[in-house]
Symmetry: D2
Subunit: 160 residues, 4 copies
């Protein structure tokens, strides 16, 4: 049974709300287990156990928040063991043009360096869901779609 | 007297409207000459003659439009001659999370490779002005600010 | 039978040599058809027919060459039809720190906006193969691996 | 008298060696004070006091190391106060294509969001000095050039 971990950092609560919507979307697919974890409380064993990893962060200076980066820095001890896993990213931000895309691309870069597999979207937020302030219905739907997509991909593993 | 070129590509007209607002902002500073040119009609002599170069593009697949890229590809013949010039970038886009930040960062990367000097903004659109659809008053103000900022920087040249 | 298109632009010949190595790697997998095309000669019908698309470009000002960008700009007419396809990228460059990573990430961004699926590598060149000057044996091996990986992924389609 | 802070994080020592070369280059310019600080030991008062800030990080998963990100996350308390300051970035990395360019661009993005001014280079490492492993003479020279360039720019402040 495929396992998905949704890892997030949130201070104001917006990224957390997005994480819950991603969780809901992933849960809507049969045949996967889904866990929701704060970045600071995520262990390396969990990273290696999960088949899909979805990471959310607020937009802090156009890059993921330090606790998210810290998790990836720690993960170097398991470098190679995330190869071929499926990944996705999302971010909440104060405003348009405020660095949300580069934050998501930053998470995607970290995943690619781990050898992970990511998918964009031809509709809506292309790199991953972005919320400007509190997530509205449009954003929540994008988050659910992300969760469902990752779940479907996980069920196809191994993909290569 | 400092010279500024505002170079843009526009098909729908939104980037062109932004370019006009940037022009207005640059013109508001005394002691600089400002020219507005389409990317396809910009010559390498103009690029090397200008002290400040501001480039605008619609967001096409998260990168500047091909005619903007084509101008930079051509500019390799003057590589080294843009060193120390001042640059800025702006983009219009269909939607949030649609690649506008990465388009602006793409333009900034091309400028950095030419040895140019760029400045972000701690307020509003940090990397450069972004318009979602037709530029509204907020966007136009950001564009004017960009033009005025580049004009002020040009008057300080040589900066290094 | 899965179909893979390797699309490249090359003036000096280095990117073309990389493309040939990618081709060889893809061909080494049974059960896929592989085509090698210049970006300028690639039709939109080919893009939509292929299941996997691997794009190579020289590093020009830290972004893909204009003819590669032009192909993606044209592809907007088929927007949505590349959703779920598999993608990969590679680049040749004059020197380290010269913009090769951002060129590859630029191609990956365009693919994500099309809704495509990309995979990094935990070993070697993480975002995609990079050649500094003429491709040596190390680079050719990376290119072959990329071709083989994309072929394996294509055989798993639909991935979501 | 212009003040420059060189802030770095280093575990293996390579980024630290680069930082020392940057320091030497900055010191070679008359009329500036230069300080060398570890990211973990840098205070917000220092960030706001310095006119030029040069940041170095090892390449960890294609982005600056967590302690460097942590410093920028903390700096939000002084948001707006770094506007118009001069910035530069450098990185050490295990290998080509390993994420060093995206690490440097990540630092530059954070600086742009602070409203800082950055300059690329038309020669050598365009976005900022990159060392593959231990810095050799070529890298050290690039680092010295970066330090000297930032010092020259600081002497021109205010630039806008």
């Amino acid at each position: 049974m495929g396992k998905i971990g949704i890892v997030y950092y949130s201070r104001g609560g917006n990224t957390e709300k997005m994480a819950h919507a991603v969780y809901e979307g992933a849960k809507s697919e049969a045949g996967v287990e889904v866990e929701l974890k704060k970045a600071e409380e995520t262990s390396l064993d969990e990273l290696t156990r999960w088949d899909g990893i979805i990471v959310g962060s607020p937009t802090y200076y156009g890059l993921p928040a330090a606790p998210v980066k810290e998790l990836f820095d720690r993960s170097v001890k398991r470098h190679g063991m995330l190869e071929g896993k499926v990944g996705g990213a999302f971010s909440s931000s104060a405003n348009v043009g405020g660095g949300n895309e580069t934050t998501i691309m930053g998470i995607i870069q970290m995943m690619l360096i781990h050898g992970m597999i990511v998918k964009g979207s031809s509709k809506g937020d292309h790199y991953g869901p972005v919320s400007l302030g509190e997530p509205d219905e449009r954003v929540k739907k994008q988050c659910k779609n992300l969760g469902a997509t990752i779940a479907k991909m996980v069920k196809k593993m191994p993909i290569c």
